[in-house]
């Protein structure tokens, strides 16, 4: 018995120096996620969707798992693009866009799913450090010389507008453990979800401490027909415009032929 514990203690000591986060147990947890598809198609009837991401904990401590002290947060982050935030002010009774602030690299969409409410998983400081959660993404202003109060005001407005359009969403309870090791996350895709490469990331927390992160990529595209129209409009814009005119003329002519009343 004593001979069998010794290597265990040695291993424990080795882990203690190598992996501070895993200090309380000899388990070296890891998290993996898998997407059932690496492409999501937006078709003609698209009105938003729920995307399911499956994941597994490796080498989880059964005792901690039983006590529900593992937490997982899954994020699906859209491609980053520059955004202008404008504020309307009243000039001579008319509401006019006056002040504006440009931000570089703002994720167009940001959907989060968690096992429990944010405040129950870990400390605010830890979210901040991980830039985790819609409220913690760093928005880089294009013009940093501006008044910090103004920048803060526009940053808040930007997050608020994104949340209102459903592009930034939170799904508390959207991550569920199916077994001790297996979990399922449901993130919401807004009807206006941007096309492009999205990044799915899963964060594992144990006893309120961040342990590990894992990521996967997801391509969101318009389906065949919608994509062809979009691509044609951008790549062959002249021909596209010409086609739009011909279509209108033919429709007008056909309308006259079919419905003519004189």
């Amino acid at each position: 018995m004593a001979t069998r514990t010794l290597p265990g203690v040695l291993l424990f000591l080795m882990l203690l120096t190598a992996q501070p986060a895993a200090a309380q147990s000899p388990h070296q947890e890891n998290i993996q996620i898998g997407l059932s598809t690496d492409k999501v198609m937006i078709t003609a009837g698209f009105t938003g969707a729920d995307l399911t991401i499956f994941g597994a904990l490796e080498d989880a401590d059964p005792q901690i798992a039983r006590q529900g002290r593992y937490d997982v947060i899954v994020v699906l982050e859209g491609p980053a693009r520059p955004v202008v935030v404008r504020r309307k002010d009243r000039v001579l009774g008319v509401w006019i866009n006056l002040e504006s602030e440009t931000f570089e690299n703002v994720p167009v969409s940001y959907s989060v799913a968690t096992t429990r409410p944010f405040q129950d998983i870990t400390e605010p400081a830890s979210y901040k450090q991980l830039s985790l959660g819609a409220g913690n993404i760093f928005m880089q202003p294009a013009d940093e010389t501006q008044n910090p109060a103004t920048i803060a005001e526009f940053t808040t407005a930007l997050r608020e507008r994104k949340a209102a359009t459903g592009q930034y969403s939170e799904n508390v309870g959207g991550v569920q453990f199916l077994s001790q090791n297996l979990f399922r996350a449901t993130v919401r895709l807004a009807p206006s979800v941007p096309v492009g490469t999205h990044k799915a990331r899963a964060y594992l927390f144990k006893n309120g401490l961040f342990v590990k992160e894992s990521s996967a990529q997801l391509e969101i595209r318009k389906s065949g027909f919608e994509q062809s129209i979009f691509r044609a409009a951008h790549d062959y814009s002249f021909l596209y415009g010409f086609f739009a005119i011909c279509l209108a003329m033919i429709t007008g002519w056909l309308g006259r032929v079919i419905f003519r009343k004189d």
Binding site: V85, K162, A248, M249, T251
Partner: protein
């Protein structure tokens, strides 16, 4: 039944769009206007981004104008020469308009400018038309025949140089106001997504004294080309023409127009003009309210450098 618009990048209800197209088509058939001044604001009320509403509106106007021109060609009420000169001015106006459009979009004042133009123009045209038609209605009630065009009366426009003869319109007039009018319409077409018929028709009748029967055909003829040019330039510079959206509107529009034309034949001219004026004013007032009422969201987001 929803459909995803590939350029506007949003899901909309296809039945709402068809109904919108049909309603506007009905009115445009009834009044003999393209209907762009109704469709673009309607699309904006329906949360289509203004830039896309304007470019797609211009595309949709082509369909209803082609329909109209075909019947005018058959009746011979179309002055190709006058239309051609108007068109030459229109191309210049559109080019300037599209440049201004891009500039306004960049500085974030496009929506405001579109709304202001609509309020001012629709308000003025609607108000003048309403006054005129009410007077005409009063005059007919009094027994006198309504006089629209006082022939033989000349104004300052007829004293300008570079005169040209337009045989179909029985007109001998300087090309300067004709080109200028064409340019103004082209400018409005590219910024407002309208054909400009609601300005062109009164301008041709009251300023250039073109006979009323050739005015609508000629105006529609030039509108086809102005809005085609506008569509093409919007498509190449701003990529804001949504063919899917335009096509649904056109289908509703051409069907509605025929029934509108039939309904229009049952009403008298002055009554029609009074109704059209009321409609134009209503759109102007609705847009004006939006300018003055505190918006629910003071902040708006815009993507920078589309595509």
């Amino acid at each position: 039944m929803s459909i995803y618009l590939p350029i506007a990048e949003i899901s909309v209800n296809i039945l709402v769009l068809l109904a919108m197209g049909a309603a506007v088509g009905f009115l445009s058939g009834m009044f003999g206007v393209g209907g762009g001044f109704l469709i673009t604001p309607l699309l904006i009320f329906y949360n289509i981004p203004p830039a896309i509403a304007v470019a797609t509106g211009a595309n949709q106007v082509i369909a209803s104008s082609v329909s109209g021109v075909l019947s005018h060609m058959k009746r011979g009420t179309l002055d190709f020469k006058l239309g051609g000169v108007l068109l030459a001015g229109g191309v210049v106006g559109s080019t300037v308009g599209i440049y201004v459009f891009g500039l306004l979009r960049e500085i974030g004042q496009l929506d405001l400018f579109i709304s202001l133009l609509y309020v001012v123009l629709l308000g003025t045209v609607g108000g003048l038309m309403l006054l005129e038609s009410i007077n005409a209605l009063r005059a007919t009630r009094g027994g006198a025949a309504p006089v629209l065009k006082k022939s033989g009366q000349h104004n300052w426009i007829h004293r300008l140089p570079l005169k040209m003869r337009f045989r179909a319109s029985k007109l001998f007039v300087s090309v300067i106001p004709v080109l200028g009018l064409g340019a103004a319409i082209g400018f409005l077409s590219s910024i407002m997504g309208v054909g400009g018929g609601f300005i062109m028709v009164p301008a041709l009748i009251y300023l250039l004294k073109v006979p009323t029967n050739v005015v609508i055909g000629t105006s529609l003829f030039q509108i086809i080309f102005t809005s085609a040019y506008t569509t093409l330039v919007h498509a190449t510079t701003n990529q804001t023409v949504d063919v899917m959206l335009a096509f649904i509107l056109m289908v509703g529009g051409v069907a509605g127009a025929q029934y509108g034309a039939r309904a229009g034949q049952k009403l008298r001219g002055e009554q029609l003009r009074a109704l059209l004026a009321a409609l134009v004013l209503a759109v102007a007032i609705r847009l004006a309210i939006d300018l003055f009422v505190t918006p629910p969201n003071l902040y708006s987001l815009a993507a920078l450098g589309l595509s």
